[in-house]
C-alpha cells in the first residue's frame, strides 16, 4: 500500500522533484477546473451571459495545462522508466489529467446553456434540480481531488457512492423536466437547454467517480473500474 511518505524515497533527488511537481501541476489544474464548474453554475443560476469570456479563457488555460502535464508524463516515462508505485502514479496522473480536461469541457457546456437560457428567458422549473445536482457534483469533484492529494481510499469510496446518488437524482430530475414539457409545449426549448446542462453535470459526476477509482488504483494497485468498487465497498481497504 502506498503512503504519503513513500514519495521522496528515491536515490535521485531530481526524480522526486519531477514526480512531486507533476502532482502539484495536476492539482493546480484541478483547482482551475473547480473554478470553471463554480463559474458555470453561478452563471446558470443568475442567467448571466457575461461569463462567456472568462469561461472561454479558463478553458483554454485548462487545455494548455493538460498538454503540459501529458508531455511531462511522457518525458518521465522515457527518461526514468518508472516502476511499481512510481509507474502507477504516472499512469494515474495521465488518466486523471484526461478526466479533468473532460470535466472542464462539460463545465464549459453548462455555461453555454446558461448563455442560451439567458437569451430565451427563465425555465419554469426555476432550476431547482440543477441547483441541487450542481452542488452535489461540486462536492464530488472536490472530494475526489482531495482524495488524490491525500491518497485517501476511504474518501474515494465515498465519492463513488456519491456518484450513485447523483445518478439517481439525475433520473428523477429528468422525469420532472419531461412533465414540464408535456404540460406546456412552449417550454420545450428552455427545458431542453436545462436538460443538456443537467446531462453535463451528470457527466462531471461520472468523471469525478473515475478520478476516485484511479486513486484506489494508485494506492492499492487494484483496478476497481466498472462497478467493482461499489461491489467491494469498504473491503477494498483490506487489500
Amino acid at each position: 500500500m502506498l503512503k504519503q511518505e513513500d514519495y521522496g524515497q528515491h536515490i535521485s533527488g531530481q526524480f522526486n522533484t519531477e514526480l512531486e511537481s507533476l502532482r502539484n501541476q495536476l492539482l493546480a489544474m484541478g483547482g482551475q477546473v473547480e473554478l470553471q464548474l463554480t463559474t458555470a453554475l453561478e452563471a446558470l443560476m443568475k442567467l448571466d451571459s457575461g461569463v462567456a469570456e472568462s469561461i472561454v479563457r479558463n478553458d483554454r488555460e485548462i487545455n494548455q495545462m493538460e498538454m503540459t502535464i501529458d508531455d511531462e508524463c511522457a518525458t518521465i516515462i522515457a527518461r526514468r522508466q518508472p516502476t511499481a508505485s512510481d509507474l502507477r502514479l504516472v499512469i494515474t496522473i495521465i488518466k486523471v489529467n484526461r478526466d479533468l480536461e473532460r470535466i472542464g469541457d462539460e463545465a464549459a457546456k453548462v455555461a453555454k446553456q446558461a448563455v442560451q437560457l439567458s437569451e430565451g428567458g427563465m425555465s419554469p422549473s426555476s432550476f431547482v434540480e440543477i441547483r441541487h445536482i450542481g452542488a452535489l457534483v461540486g462536492v464530488l469533484l472536490r472530494q475526489s481531488l482531495d482524495a488524490f492529494a491525500r491518497l485517501d481510499v476511504t474518501k474515494a469510496i465515498e465519492v463513488v457512492k456519491g456518484d450513485a446518488e447523483v445518478d439517481k437524482q439525475y433520473g428523477s430530475a429528468m422525469r420532472s423536466l419531461v412533465t414540464f414539457m408535456v404540460e406546456d409545449p412552449r417550454n420545450v426549448g428552455a427545458i431542453l437547454n436545462e436538460m443538456w446542462a443537467l446531462r453535463s453535470l451528470e457527466r462531471i459526476g461520472d468523471h469525478a467517480c473515475n478520478i476516485a477509482e484511479h486513486v484506489v488504483y494508485l494506492v492499492k494497485g487494484l483496478d476497481v473500474r466498472h462497478g467493482l468498487l461499489s461491489e467491494l465497498g469498504e473491503d477494498v481497504l483490506d487489500y
Binding site: E5, E20, L27, A28, G31, Q32, G138, A149
Partner: protein, 423 residues
C-alpha cells in the same frame, strides 16, 4: 584539587609498593604490579560508567575518587539539559495550544510550500484536516486559482480576500501571510462573510433609499415648478416660501442623483467597461458643457501627451467635471482653472489646478469623506452636495488610479488623478 589528590594517592601507592618490593628484592616487578592494579581499577570504573550511560535516567553508581566526580558532574549536566528541554517543550506546547484554540485558521508553511503545522479551525474554512494534512503541499489542498496565484507570487503586502466554496455555502475568506525565518510563512485565515455581506447590504440600502426617495420628490418638485411658473396668480406672502421650497427640492434631487451615481460606481467596481479614452475629447466636451452652465469661468487646457487610458468614460467625465466645478466655485470670478494631461515618468496625470481659496492641510486627509465640509458656511453659498470628491475618489479607484490632493491656503489647489501608463 581532587586531581592533585588522586595523582598523589596513586604515586603514594606506587612508592609504598615499590618500597615493600625492594625489601623482598623485586622492586621493578612490584612497580609493575602496582601500575597494573591502578589500570585494572580504572577499567573497572570505566565499565561501570559505560553500563550506566546505557540507562542514564537511573541514578549513577557510587564511585570512588575522580570517577565519582566525573559521574556526578555528568549526571548534573544531563539533568539540567532535560529540565531545559522540558521547559522549552512547555513553551512550544502552550504556544501551539494558543494557536490551536484560535478561532481564526492558522497554518505554518515551510520553504517548499508544505504544511508544517495547522490548527483545527481550518477544517470549516479551507477544508484542511488537522493533523493528517501536515507535510502536504498547501496549494494541493487549497486549489482555488486565486489563492494559488497569491500564495505563489510571494507578495504579501496586501491581504487576499476571495470567495471560497468548501462547505455547502460559499465563504468570503481573508488570508494574511507573514513570512518569517528562511522562506517559512505563517497564514492567518479568517471568515469575513459577515463583513462582506454587511458592506453589500449597506451599498444596496443607500442605492434603494435614494431610488425610492426620488419618485415622491419628482412629484413634489414637479408641482412646485407648476406653481412657480405662474407667480402672478400666487398670493404674495407665500411666494418666498414656495420659491425656497423649489430650490431645496432641486438641491435634494441633485443630492439623490449624486448618491445613486456614487453607489453605482461602487458596485461597478469589478466590471467597469474598459475602453480607451480620448482625454483630449473629454476635456473639450467638458469645456463646452461648462461654458453653458458657468459662463463666467475661464478654462485653460494643457494637453502635452496623446496617450490614452483604459477606463469608463462616463465615470471619468463625472470625476473631472466635479473637480472642475469645485475649482470654479472656490476661485474668485474670472480666475483661470487649468486642466492638464501629462506623462510624468511612468504615470499619466490628469490635473485640475486653480488659484483660488486653497484648503488648509489639516482638512486634506478627510476631504474625500462623504458629506465632509471644510467650513459649514461654504455649504449654503456654493450649494454643493458634499459628495463630489467622494465620487472622484471612487472613480479613481474603479479605474486603477489614485487621487492626489495638494493645496495651500490662499494660493489655490491642485487635484491630480494618477493612472499607470500603459506599457
Amino acid at each position: 584539587m581532587t586531581w592533585v589528590a588522586a595523582t598523589s594517592r596513586a604515586l603514594l601507592l606506587i612508592t609504598v609498593v615499590a618500597c615493600v618490593g625492594a625489601l623482598y628484592g623485586y622492586p621493578q616487578e612490584a612497580v609493575i604490579l602496582a601500575l597494573l592494579g591502578i589500570c585494572g581499577f580504572s577499567y573497572h570504573q570505566m565499565r561501570r560508567v559505560q553500563l550506566w550511560l546505557q540507562t542514564p535516567e537511573q541514578m549513577p553508581p557510587d564511585a570512588y575518587g575522580l570517577w565519582g566526580q566525573i559521574l556526578s558532574r555528568m549526571y548534573f549536566l544531563q539533568r539540567n539539559s532535560l529540565e531545559a528541554q522540558a521547559q522549552l517543550q512547555t513553551t512550544v506546547d502552550s504556544l501551539q495550544d494558543s494557536f490551536a484554540a484560535m478561532r481564526d485558521g492558522v497554518v505554518m508553511v515551510d520553504t517548499n510550500g508544505c504544511i508544517k503545522w495547522l490548527n483545527r479551525s481550518l477544517e470549516p474554512l479551507l477544508g484542511l484536516r488537522c493533523p493528517e494534512d501536515t507535510g502536504q503541499p498547501l496549494t494541493n489542498l487549497v486549489r482555488a486559482p486565486e489563492f494559488s496565484r497569491y500564495f505563489l507570487a510571494m507578495d504579501y503586502s496586501a491581504p487576499l480576500e476571495y470567495l471560497a466554496s468548501v462547505g455547502d455555502k460559499p465563504l468570503y475568506l481573508r488570508i494574511e501571510v507573514t513570512p518569517f525565518g528562511e522562506g517559512e510563512r505563517l497564514l492567518f485565515v479568517r471568515d469575513v462573510s459577515n463583513a462582506v455581506l454587511m458592506e453589500k447590504m449597506r451599498r444596496e440600502f443607500v442605492a434603494n433609499v435614494s431610488h425610492e426617495l426620488r419618485t415622491p420628490l419628482t412629484v413634489i418638485s414637479g408641482y412646485l415648478g407648476t406653481l412657480l411658473s405662474d407667480t402672478n396668480a400666487f398670493p404674495e406672502r407665500y411666494l418666498k416660501a414656495v420659491t425656497q421650497m423649489g430650490q431645496q427640492a432641486e438641491r435634494m434631487e441633485s443630492l439623490l442623483k449624486d448618491l445613486l451615481w456614487l453607489s453605482r460606481i461602487e458596485s461597478e467596481h469589478y466590471n467597469t467597461a474598459h475602453d480607451a479614452i480620448d482625454v483630449q475629447g473629454l476635456f473639450h466636451e467638458l469645456r463646452d458643457d461648462l461654458a453653458e452652465s458657468h459662463p463666467n469661468s475661464v478654462l485653460v487646457l494643457e494637453i502635452s501627451t496623446d496617450e490614452t487610458i483604459c477606463g469608463n468614460y462616463r465615470q471619468l467625465y463625472s470625476a473631472v467635471s466635479n473637480l472642475a466645478i469645485n475649482a470654479i466655485k472656490y476661485s474668485p470670478e474670472g480666475n483661470p482653472v487649468t486642466l492638464s494631461w501629462t506623462l510624468q515618468g511612468d504615470d499619466l496625470c490628469m490635473q485640475v489646478r486653480d488659484r483660488g481659496l486653497g484648503i488648509d492641510s489639516s482638512h486634506i486627509p478627510r476631504l474625500t469623506e462623504r458629506f465632509y465640509r471644510v467650513d459649514d458656511s461654504r455649504n449654503s453659498a456654493t450649494g454643493g452636495t458634499g459628495l463630489g470628491l467622494a465620487i472622484v475618489k471612487h472613480v479613481a479607484a474603479a479605474n486603477d488610479g489614485q487621487l492626489k490632493i495638494e493645496s495651500k491656503l490662499g494660493e489655490g489647489s491642485t487635484f491630480t488623478l494618477i493612472f499607470p501608463a500603459r506599457g
